[in-house]
């Protein structure tokens, strides 16, 4: 499933989207479409991706697509996948759901759990920009500790998001025992596209959780999306992993879990933090990596 940039198809199936500059989510969707090709039917809830790609009479998506309700995306694509089979559609058609972290990890989780339990033949892509961005940066269960959002504003009684740990979609899906689960980052396009390519060949429910930095919500220069994405992975604030038929694999081990200060200082959402906070966040990260190493059999 190796991806070679030189031989990658030039065809673009997603362009002209009205996203913010430097949008990680649209990078993820574009790369995914490159791998899946024209034989794709996709659906999405009313998220950033929907709002920036298809508002009648315009569309930036050049394959079949539809908008569904937030809690209904996984079930919608499930219904599409089942109908595809019953009606005898071309077997090579991929049914895809694309949703953000809120639409997946919060309001969409029950439906995704159902689709996973039925093992319906879908790819579910969660692009994670770490808050409800389309509605104006409200916190989600994927918002990092001490991050400012409009619903976790900072003040004398608040230092931003209170939860130390984000909900782990990867582990939730592993517990469903579906054939393929992966985490990825738009800053690692080869790794991400190879995971999409692999998911395309697997029958059943596949879930890929891709981190997608958001210059608007995080407050950084739009030219730095890839930079920020790389820093997150190299500092161990995100990880690239797979679980294929129950086999867990960490795809990338950061060389050294260095100080998180620079990463946090680059983003306005963390501007209220001080040295003490940086140390605290580093310690939480270190503790998490002890757990992750055990989980991936590396301890």
């Amino acid at each position: 499933m190796a991806i070679n940039y030189k031989t990658l198809d030039d065809t673009e199936l997603l362009y002209g989207a009205k996203t913010c500059q430097g949008c990680g989510a649209i990078m993820a969707a574009r790369m995914m479409m490159k791998i899946l090709g024209k034989k794709t039917c996709l659906a999405t809830p009313a998220c950033c991706f929907a709002a920036t790609t298809t508002v009648y009479p315009q569309s930036a998506i050049f394959v079949n697509n539809a908008v569904s309700a937030f809690p209904g995306l996984a079930a919608t694509v499930s219904g599409m996948a089942v109908a595809k089979e019953v009606l005898g559609w071309d077997e090579e058609v991929t049914i895809v759901g694309i949703a953000g972290d809120g639409g997946t990890i919060d309001i969409g989780l029950q439906g995704l759990s159902g689709a996973a339990e039925r093992n319906d033949d879908i790819i579910y892509l969660c692009y994670d920009n770490e808050a409800y961005m389309n509605t104006g940066v409200q916190r989600s269960a994927s918002t990092p500790y001490k991050s400012w959002t409009t619903t976790t504003p900072t003040g004398v009684c608040s230092k931003g998001e209170r939860n130390e740990m984000r909900k782990s979609l990867f582990e939730i899906m592993v517990a469903h025992r579906i054939p393929y689960i992966a985490t990825a980052s738009v800053a690692y396009p080869k790794d991400f596209m190879e995971k999409i390519a692999k998911a395309k060949t697997v029958k059943g429910c596949k879930v890929i959780h891709v981190t997608a930095p958001c210059p608007t919500g995080w407050g950084y220069d739009p030219s730095l999306t890839v930079e920020i994405g790389k820093m997150a992975v190299e500092l161990g604030l995100w990880y690239l992993a797979e679980c294929e038929n129950g086999e867990m694999k960490l795809n990338h081990m950061p060389k050294k879990l260095g100080p998180v200060d620079d990463y946090l200082k680059m983003q306005k959402r963390f501007k209220h933090l001080n040295e003490k906070d940086y140390v605290e966040i580093s310690k939480i990260r270190d503790r998490e990596w002890i757990r992750l190493k055990k989980m991936f059999g590396l301890a």
């Binding site: 539809a66 809690p71 599409m80 109908a83 595809k84 039925r118």
Partner: protein
Amino acid sequence: MSEKAFLSGNEAAAHGVRLSRPHVVSAYPITPQTTLVEKLAEFVAEGNAGFRYMMVESEHSAMASALGASMMGARAFTASSSQGLLYMCEMLSYVSGARHPVVMVDANRSTATPWNIYGDQRDALSMRDAGWIMLFVESGQEALDTVIQAYKIAEDPKVMTPVMVNLDGFTLTHTYDMVEIPAQDTVDKFLPPFTTANKMSLEDPKTLCQTVGPDFHAEGRYLQQEAFGFAKVIIDEVDREYETFTGRSYGGMIEEYRCEDARVVLVAMGSVVGTTRIVVDQLREQGEKVGLIKIRSFRPFPKEYFKQLQKKFDAMGVIDRSISFGFEGTVFSEVKSSMYGSDTKLSNYIVGLGGRDIPKSLIEEMFHKLFELAGGKDDEEVQFLGMRWK
């Protein structure tokens, strides 16, 4: 050949679903809809289904997957009741706005709180504006026949609107009657396979179920309203056509029963129509000039019918198994507004809430009240009848 069987309302409806040859059924069980989805599961287990049955984890997902299936060009079915209908409410408007002709059965049941599993029509009537065609049936036989008719109505190119077939919880869903099950080839001739351009296609990729801003939004809503106008004609046509195949019809949108020379009539919807028929017959035998109007289609509402009544009757009573708090019975509102300008005296009787029995004596009391109203008695417009206390 058709065959006769002793079936519950839910089982009869399930046969209607099977005969309609859906591709995908997705459902989540809820009392009193359960025996319907159980029967569908039995069809699958016995190899008599022809559809894929999706065991979804909630009603919201049941309607979402029906939407997904329909977007691929499949004929889809689901069923629910009460809280389940409320839970899938969000998806009802997705399906109707995107013009996907899904058919569902709602086993009418009250809504919490107080928690109550028994029949009234508060669940469906609270979905009045979800953009679905809403048909109410009187018997198990009508449930079976109406499910089949519903697909023909929903999939009509001029209509392309989902249909909710309503049967009263327990009173219809769980009571048994002799039902004629039409032969598959008869239904196949009546109901051709589903074809539509409103589906995804590899040759002609589409954006379905999409976002529409202020520039075009009202036009889409106008088209929905127009489709309901067409549906008024199609519901009647489909019912008449169904009769040529099976010998059974139900009056389309509305049925008048012994109304010709009636002085007072009751307007009813659902299972209480059956009880009212018997009372009308009994009172007619005693020489009383009473009649019954059965509303079969609540949406579209037979406004033109009620409007043309003018002063045909001295007094009319509307039986409601629901109430819009702070106003009046839901069906009553529709009848009253349709009859705007007529000086026929109108009364609204709120009965049968949360499964309370509606005995013949209560119907007789309504007719008695209507004669008094016709005779000039000043009576309250909206009345709860058969109460333990007020």
